[in-house]
């Protein structure tokens, strides 16, 4: 059956609308990149759109020479690796145990975890807890409190549940212990979900800043996101809206901010084309569960 004229016209407009969506989505990225290569005067004059004006790489050199930037960048890498490792170990243990029907109290433990998705202690009790543990200005304050995402755990649990029971039974008849089965049979079969989970956690940890903002007041502990946050907030000079004395109240040049944004987001953009399909499949698994 042939298409009506109206539908053909609609299809043309549809393509145009979606091209506009693509443009609007990408514009802020391209604008940041353009500013990072532009001169300060040209940015302040409002001349920079998608194309760098007064092209230079001097700002990159300035930022890359800043020791504080490197300290923060290394911190981000460290926190991301440690936090993701802790999360993976904890989430895998929990999800595997809960996926076993023979586990007594399975329903109870699942509900025990799910309840925390809908009700939480809130900002202040969490803050007090971390301070009481003596974790202020320590790495533990940013790598432990988010160790298990219940949402991720449920996705993983449903993946484990779909692995045929017979495989494990065969292993246990051959004398394999639970640990042995988990390491030699289950985990090798679960590579796709493990990859997805690592990415979920790693991206979240790379991007996080608020824990560090709450619990760190030593600059040498800041992750790059907090370093960037202080640059950005420094721009609204005199308007101290955050909490810390670390607020830089001097005017920070727009091109410095842009360069730092580019460098912070670069690892995410670089891996993005390879990882986004994992994210999509992860979110689909999660929704099937629900």
């Amino acid at each position: 059956m042939k298409e009506s004229v109206q539908y053909k016209i609609f299809k043309v407009f549809n393509v145009l609308i979606l091209l506009l969506v693509v443009y609007v989505t990408l514009f802020p990225f391209l604008n940041v990149v353009a500013q990072s290569f532009s001169g300060e005067a040209q940015i302040n004059a409002g001349k920079v759109g998608l194309i760098p004006q007064g092209f230079n790489v001097g700002t990159y050199q300035t930022v890359l020479k800043d020791t504080q930037f490197w300290v923060s960048y290394k911190n981000t890498v460290l926190y991301t690796v440690v936090a993701t490792t802790i999360s993976m170990v904890m989430t895998t243990m929990f999800a595997y145990a809960l996926s076993k029907k023979r586990l007594a109290g399975r329903q109870f433990f699942t509900k025990f975890a799910v309840f925390t998705m809908f009700f939480s202690g809130g900002l202040i009790p969490n803050y007090i807890l971390i301070q009481q543990l003596g974790w202020g200005n320590t790495i533990w304050a940013v790598v432990v409190p988010g160790a298990i995402s219940v949402f991720n755990m449920l996705i993983m649990k449903s993946f484990f549940e779909n692995i045929p029971e017979e495989l494990e039974e065969a292993a246990s008849i051959d004398g394999s212990s639970t640990y042995g089965t988990l390491f030699r049979i289950i985990l090798p079969l679960s590579k796709p979900i493990l990859a997805t989970m690592i990415l979920f956690y790693a991206v979240g940890n790379w991007n996080s800043w608020f824990g560090a903002f709450l619990y760190f007041d030593k600059k040498e502990l800041f992750p790059v996101t907090l370093y960037l946050r202080n640059l950005i907030k420094g721009a609204t000079a005199g308007l101290s809206t955050g909490a810390t004395s670390a607020d830089n109240l001097t005017q920070i040049a727009a091109n410095i901010k842009s360069v730092t944004m580019v460098l912070t987001v670069l690892p995410i953009i670089m891996v993005y084309p390879f990882i986004q399909k994992y994210f999509v499949s992860g979110i689909m698994l999660g929704s099937v569960k629900q």
């Binding site: 059956m1 298409e3 009506s4 539908y7 609609f10 299809k11 979606l18 969506v21 693509v22 609007v24 989505t25 514009f27 990225f29 604008n31 940041v32 500013q35 940015i43 004059a45 409002g46 920079v48 759109g49 904890m90 243990m93 929990f94 145990a97 076993k100 023979r102 586990l103 007594a104 433990f109 975890a113 925390t116 809908f118 939480s120 202690g121 809130g122 900002l123 202040i124 009790p125 969490n126 007090i128 807890l129 298990i148 246990s172 988990l182 991007n207 996080s208 800043w209 996101t225 960037l228 946050r229 950005i232 721009a235 609204t236 308007l239 809206t241 944004m261 912070t264 979110i283 929704s287």
Partner: protein, 323 residues
């Protein structure tokens, strides 16, 4: 006790009801045989107790006097003093209204956007172009809130691209972030920018599950594409819409705290300040922990009530509910 039954108690039928065996011995037997499985639970359960349930109990300081450095459960009962405090606090009600306004506007604009986006994508003939648009649209979802805030401030700056466009059209530059009247618009627009593509994933999945033969039948009946959309496509994704609407209503109180914290300033407090940022300032800038906790507890209880009622309504209206 029949010996035969005991002999049968192997791994496969350990759950056989045998009332003569004491529960305790049963548990011990199970633990002994299967301790490795149970050992996997230990750390996660401790984690949940310490980092999720302990702070929940820590909410008790909404009713107790708290001394920094003292017990996390406070020192002595003070009754509902802190509850009365926020009920009589005009600023609290101001931020309460702000929270509801921002979250309602977000729901109004950002909930339908992914549905429309998914429907538009669904009409594309070229698979490659569809994939390209989708891939681009997910990108903002992966950014740190700090980056989002940085981009928002840059785009809306006095000398930023939006003002460049305004002045080129002969208008006066607008200092968006310093004007209270612009905050809601900035918030909702940036939410949509960030979430529209990602939000469409589940709808796109639902769309692929619609039976192709329904469309064939409709075509034979002479229905055009618009009629097919109204009568087949939208009913096909309705369960997904309802489920996500329930989730969204459930989190109505949860305005993006990090985003507001990064974007607000004293010049736009009037519209930008929300419950979570207000309690953040009360608690962590003015060190009034108990008062801030009382506000946080109130907010969390409203949130829980919303989730539970939205879920109950969804269960009544449709078959789909979250639990």
């Amino acid at each position: 006790m029949k010996p035969a039954v005991q002999v049968q108690k192997t791994a496969q039928n350990i759950v056989l009801p045998d009332l003569n065996v004491k529960t305790r011995t049963k548990i011990l037997t199970v633990l002994k045989k299967d301790w490795q499985l149970y050992s996997l639970l230990v750390l996660p359960v401790i984690y949940l107790l310490v980092f999720k349930y302990l702070p929940m109990l820590g909410n008790i300081i909404a009713f107790r006097r708290f001394i920094p450095g003292g017990s996390i459960f406070g020192e002595e009962w003070v009754g509902i003093q802190y509850i009365q405090m926020f009920i009589n606090d005009p600023t609290f009600w101001h931020v309460f209204r702000n929270t509801l306004t921002i979250s309602s506007l977000t729901l109004l604009f950002c909930f339908p956007a992914p549905i429309i986006f998914a429907l538009l994508l669904n009409e594309l003939t070229s698979k490659k172009f569809k994939k390209f648009v989708q891939t681009v649209s997910y990108l903002p979802h992966f950014l740190s809130m700090v980056i989002i805030a940085g981009m928002v401030l840059q785009i809306t700056a006095g000398n930023g691209p939006i003002n460049a466009l305004i002045t080129s059209l002969g208008g006066e530059p607008i200092y968006f972030i310093q004007e209270a009247s612009w905050f809601r618009g900035i918030y909702v627009t940036s939410e949509m920018w960030q979430g529209m593509g990602w939000g469409a994933i589940l709808y796109l999945a639902a769309l692929t599950n619609i039976d192709e033969s329904l469309y064939e039948a409709a075509k034979i009946d002479g229905a055009n594409r618009w009629k097919q959309t109204i009568h087949i496509t939208i009913p096909g994704i309705l369960p997904t819409i309802v489920t996500l609407l329930v989730l969204n209503i459930g989190s109505l109180m949860a305005v993006g705290f990090e985003k507001v914290l990064l974007l607000y300033n004293p010049l736009n407090y009037e519209t930008a300040d929300v419950i979570s940022t207000y309690l953040y300032r009360i608690g962590l800038e003015s060190s009034n922990f108990s008062y801030a906790t009382a506000i946080g507890l109130f907010e969390a209880l409203i949130g829980l009530t919303l989730v539970l009622s939205a879920n109950a309504i969804s269960r009544k209206l449709t078959d789909s509910s979250l639990w």
